[in-house]
Symmetry: C2
Subunit: 259 residues, 2 copies
């Protein structure tokens, strides 16, 4: 049986989502707990995508296969009892065996929280990115609209070796809002490149501070050159907010249910 | 020269304010940095009072003596550069040599944050106390008024060996407010016993949940018996908000300034 779960985590003390030789990871912590529940038989967990060290998630989605016959609500209670307090399962449902949490994604939403105030907030240092100077929301909002649609986002992707990989991605919605001293970027797309949201945010901050013009986004995208965009914004302001799937991929057909 | 400083800290990763043989403490971290600035000569720091492991402070006050001739604004920059990111100096001023940060306190304010919602908030687990059931704000508010004035607060003090010490304290102001899903207790007094605010909060929560009646506060106070009050509320919701001093104790007289 394949199970799909929505999970939340505070990324502060994880070395990112994906298992790695050293460091505490989200995947590693979940696999350890699941393996314990399966009497030592290793359970492999697949995520909708990676998040970096310090990046948070309110709606990360994972899947795993199990032969245990436990009702979903009991799964939730059992897992949350065993998991540490910076990681929790929000929901768990059974899905068709061919559902894939990464391949079947239809859309992802990220949000980025900027604290734009005169003073740092010690208590939010792990949860927002503090920017001191006054940000011009209008300029940032205007600039953000240039990201909409399908573009080659090479300029907004951390350099990696795989130069031949397709860097075209589609942004379906982007908005910047202010809530008291917080400036929040919401961005939805069918997929994102490595560090793409954080480089977009870094560039929008430069525009908000008046260091660059909103129209420069058009040139930066066209250049397909990472060095043309601004600095990558730090991880602590970033939240993987929601991952969406086509309904049909997550619904078990009558025949599936007879398995 | 005696300096008075207002400091803020996130208590999550401190084993409390006061230096102890093991564990990272607020006083310990500050003394280490000051001692480094004084070329290895140990600088002793005195606080307005202790805070426990996990308790936060927005307005803790300390004093220390120094022979370094550094303008206050440079002190601030130097210290904040050397301190870790969960501890900061908000202000630093010179005071008369006979000013004492603990003996000269005129009033202290604590606040306690309760998250009263259907679901826990992973991202605020270190900064609020989560209470699931609906709290009756009216009952809590009514109950809180019985704490006003001078009382023997033995029932609201964690048991300790010093049974003969005077347990009479004066609460000058107490209020309970709701801000969205947060219920905030503000309490001011001339002094507080060990765990006094957290036992008051624990008892008010019991009243808010309907487990006890507001009028019971009168009997609990009169009993002078810790076992009559409710459980101590956990530390993460508590903030030492402000410590006040009589103006004369913090103002240097003309003759002091000539020292």
């Amino acid at each position: 049986m394949r199970l799909k779960a929505i999970i939340r985590y505070d990324g502060t003390f994880f070395s990112g989502y994906q298992v790695q030789p050293k460091g505490r990871t989200v995947q590693g912590v979940i696999e350890k707990v699941l393996t314990k529940m399966h009497k030592g038989n290793h359970v492999r967990v697949t995520g909708s995508g990676r998040t970096d060290k310090g990046v948070h998630a309110l709606g990360q989605v994972i899947h795993f296969d199990t032969e245990l016959e436990i009702p979903p609500e009991n799964w939730l209670r059992a897992l949350n009892t065993m998991l540490p307090d910076d990681l929790e399962f929000v929901s768990i449902t059974d899905v068709p065996d061919d559902f894939h949490v990464r391949y079947d994604v239809s859309e992802k939403e990220y949000r980025y929280y900027i604290l734009n105030s005169k003073e740092k907030d010690l208590f939010r240092r792990h949860y927002t990115h503090f920017v001191k100077g006054d940000l011009d929301l209008g300029a940032m909002s205007k600039a953000s609209q240039h990201f909409l649609g399908s573009h080659d986002f090479t300029s907004f992707c951390s350099a990696n070796n795989d130069v031949k990989a397709d860097k075209v991605r589609t942004i379906t919605d982007i908005a910047i809002e202010q809530e008291e001293e917080n400036i929040i970027l919401r961005v939805k797309g069918t997929g994102f490149l490595y560090n793409m949201v954080r480089i977009i945010v870094g560039t929008l901050i430069d525009i908000g501070l008046g260091n660059r013009e909103p129209e420069e986004i058009i040139e930066i995208i066209a250049a397909r050159d990472r060095s043309k965009a601004s600095k990558t914004a730090p991880p602590q302001g970033l939240y993987l907010w929601e991952v969406s799937y086509n309904k049909k991929s997550t619904e078990r057909s009558p025949s599936d249910e007879m398995n």
